[in-house]
């Protein structure tokens, strides 16, 4: 508990939001600041180490890649990456993954925004039931919906298409989207819609012209989450695809039982999937905190 006690005051500067540390904070920059810094460096290091270790394994020459005990010094090589691109259809898997993620994000927002808006403005037992259902749906075991979806998509002839995966993910992530978005809408005063409607806006126009612009950070937050969920999805994509719509997580999972050198290529694929999302994480973190902060998670 010492850490907690020692820097409870650290809460304070956060509200200055990026303001350079003022002179009066200087003297406090003593033992506990370094302690916190040290702890955070350790935590960051621990959190990143699986990725770093894999990055090392895939840039080692194949014969020492998985040597036990491990080697720490080696001449880095990019062979695994080059082989991955040249001998597999990795480029196609990457495109599929992106198509699924983008499609399902757009659709989730287009469908989810009006519903969330309505739920935040129409208190009734219907809203209550819908929200509770959304909660239960959010918690559903994937297999309970994905196995029937497999049958369904076969029957409809959309099995093994990016469309089917995206549609499934829109539905699966819909509860989370409307839940998050509803809380954002709830933060916007109702008087605002009333004023707009008095000015002659229809409900839909109010939503489009007044609410959505106000919701900028909220929509961005929801969008980032839904995009990430779709980008990472393994189970749904694994069951709904075979060859034409295979995504990168599915590809990597089907390579785990391979031997060298393909196993090393699977590691390379994991790195190629990870790096762009890491860059994305660095860009997105600001919006995520800002978005969540504007009241979405009251619970």
């Amino acid at each position: 508990m010492t850490t907690l006690q020692e820097h409870g005051s650290a809460l304070e500067p956060s509200r200055s939001d990026g303001e350079p540390p003022s002179a009066k904070r200087r003297p406090r920059k003593s033992a506990h600041t370094y302690l916190v810094g040290g702890v955070l460096v350790l935590v960051c290091w621990a959190m990143v180490s699986p990725v770093l270790w894999t990055a090392m394994a895939v840039t080692k020459p194949t014969d020492v890649a998985f040597l036990n005990p491990p080697v720490f010094t080696y001449e880095p090589t990019m062979t695994a990456f080059v082989d991955l691109w040249q001998t597999t259809l990795f480029a196609d898997y990457l495109v599929n993954t992106l198509v699924v993620a983008v499609l399902s994000t757009i659709a989730a927002l287009v469908i989810g925004l009006p519903a969330a808006y309505a739920l935040s403005r129409f208190p009734s037992w219907v809203s209550a039931v819908l929200l509770v259902l959304a909660l239960v749906f959010r918690a559903l075991p994937r297999f309970a919906v994905v196995l029937p979806m497999y049958d369904l998509s076969r029957a409809l002839g959309v099995y093994d298409t990016t469309f089917a995966v995206a549609a499934a993910l829109v539905a699966i992530n819909q509860p989370f989207s409307i839940w998050l978005l509803r809380n954002f809408f709830a933060e916007i005063p109702k008087e605002l819609d009333e004023a707009a409607m008095l000015d002659g806006c229809s409900r839909l126009a109010t939503l489009r012209r007044v609410m959505i612009p106000l919701m900028g950070p909220g929509i961005l937050t929801a969008g980032i989450f839904v995009f990430l969920f779709a980008f990472q999805e393994y189970l749904t994509a694994n069951i709904l695809t075979d060859v034409s719509a295979r995504t990168v997580p599915v590809f990597i999972a089907t390579q785990l039982g391979q031997t060298l050198p393909m196993l090393q290529q699977a590691g390379a694929a994991a790195m190629l999937l990870t790096l762009p999302v890491v860059a994305f994480a660095f860009i997105a973190q600001r919006y995520l905190v800002a978005g969540l902060n504007s009241g979405s998670v009251k619970g």
Binding site: N68, D242, T254
Partner: protein, 439 residues
């Protein structure tokens, strides 16, 4: 508010991503590996553009045949597609594609063990009429008779054999020589040899077997039982043999190797056993011949020149070895969309004489006279091994019994269940399955 440090990190992340993406130059340009042969694949062009999906797991023994098919048969408006997948993935996708009226895959890699089950359920197409028609063109009569038999059910051929896989024992010549050891021919000798290596102190767990509890362990038990001269089931009386003393002995013998194997050996599939050998963690490994060529590649391990190969030992002496003979081949699902005749020409060309020659040394092709003792470092061992395998049990219940008793086998090998209790459970499970076929 600009945050200079994040900008730096962002720039760095973008640069690294870009650099890695640059490795993509020439993406997809080497879809066929160097082992692929260019052979004749002379099907008449279909009326419209067609794509043919091939389901086959990747291993250095299967790849040459798959790659040859992809390389030689993608023409005349036809695209042959193969996506890399591991063995577990193939097992699962096979079940999925064969269920229902339509399937994704047009050509499926199969093996003798599963042919009776799928053929019995009419999920695979009989190939005999096509064999007769294309015999001349692709020289099909040179494919080994016994292997054709292994891919047949009820007198009909359901899979065109490409290769045989049998257990081979790989061992470290340098370790054996320095300790004056000879490759073991029985489990007792194996224990003895392993004990000596262990005592020498260099290698803590000298023996590595693929005993993955969710898969390979069933094959291992079947091999041990077979080496003791007993089948799963007495096919004439339709009674399971797990109540025979050999059923318990097979467990005892497998368990007797435990002190010489990595404690986590029940998490090892074949690639992990290979990794044990690459890393020098084990000195003796027994697995399918199709995995042996990888060991001899200098790019995979610094010990590549040190591996010797021998037939696997027998469990208790005698002619039948701790062994499984598995014939791999190509099957055409009944629900495949493409013209079966065209598909047959594709699989026939991928096992043609030229294609089979190109698959050596990675594979042991199904054609007579292609493998000679000099074909590869392990060819001689493979040739001895192939003649000393327990007989196959070509019945539809075999794979079901193997599947359904696997968890019990794992529990007994791991010591969670006493041997007697385990064999009793297996006897019960097998009897229940057999009852379905007695009617």
């Amino acid at each position: 508010m600009p945050q200079p440090r994040t900008t730096v990190v962002r720039a760095l992340a973008t640069t690294i991503s870009a650099a890695l993406l640059l490795t993509a130059c020439g993406a997809g340009s080497r879809t066929s590996s160097s082992t692929a042969a260019q052979v004749d694949c002379d099907f008449p062009a279909p009326s419209k553009a067609t794509s043919v999906n091939v389901l086959a797991y990747n291993s250095s023994a299967i790849d040459p045949f798959t790659n040859t098919m992809v390389k030689s048969c993608s023409k005349n408006q036809v695209t042959v597609k193969h996506e890399p997948i591991d063995f577990a993935g193939q097992v699962q996708k096979t079940t999925a594609t064969l269920a229902g009226d339509t399937g994704t895959y047009d050509v499926v890699e199969t093996y003798g063990f599963i042919i009776p089950k799928y053929a019995g359920e009419q999920k695979l197409r009989p190939l005999d009429e096509y064999v007769a028609e294309f015999d001349q063109e692709y020289g099909l009569s040179d494919i080994n008779k016994a292997m054709r038999q292994a891919m047949s059910y009820d007198g009909k051929l359901y899979g065109l054999p490409m290769q045989a896989q049998m257990y081979v024992m790989a061992y470290r010549k340098d370790v054996f020589e320095s300790l004056g050891l000879k490759p073991p021919t029985t489990f007792a000798e194996l224990r003895d040899v392993a004990g000596k290596i262990q005592q020498a102190g260099q290698i803590k767990y000298p023996v590595a077997l693929p005993l993955l509890a969710s898969s390979d362990i069933a094959t291992a038990y079947d091999s041990a039982l077979g080496s003791l001269g007993v089948d799963y089931v007495d096919a004439t009386t339709m009674t399971p043999n797990f109540d025979k003393p050999e059923a318990a002995k097979a467990f005892d013998e497998l368990r007797s190797l435990a002190p010489f194997m990595d404690p986590q050996v029940t998490t090892f599939d074949q690639p992990r056993v290979q990794q044990q050998m690459y890393n020098g963690s084990a000195a003796v490994a027994i697995m399918f011949s199709g995995r042996m060529n990888d060991l001899t590649q200098a790019s995979n391990s610094k010990f590549s020149q040190q591996f010797g190969f021998a037939p696997p030992p027998s469990v208790a002496g005698g002619d039948v070895l701790y062994n499984t003979l598995s014939v791999d081949g190509w099957s055409i699902p009944t629900n495949a969309a493409a013209d079966p005749k065209m598909l047959f020409e594709m699989i026939a060309s991928s096992v043609s004489a030229d294609a089979s020659k190109a698959s050596v040394p990675a594979a042991y092709p199904a054609r007579d006279g292609i493998v000679t003792p000099g074909s590869s470092p392990y060819a001689e061992a493979a040739q001895v091994s192939i003649g000393k395998a327990p007989p196959a049990e070509p019945h539809p219940w075999t794979s079901r019994i193997s599947n359904d008793t696997r968890t019990v086998v794992a529990d007994v090998v791991l010591g969670n269940t006493p041997v007697a209790e385990g064999t009793a459970q297996m006897q019960q499970i097998a009897a229940k399955i057999l009852a379905e076929y007695k009617k």
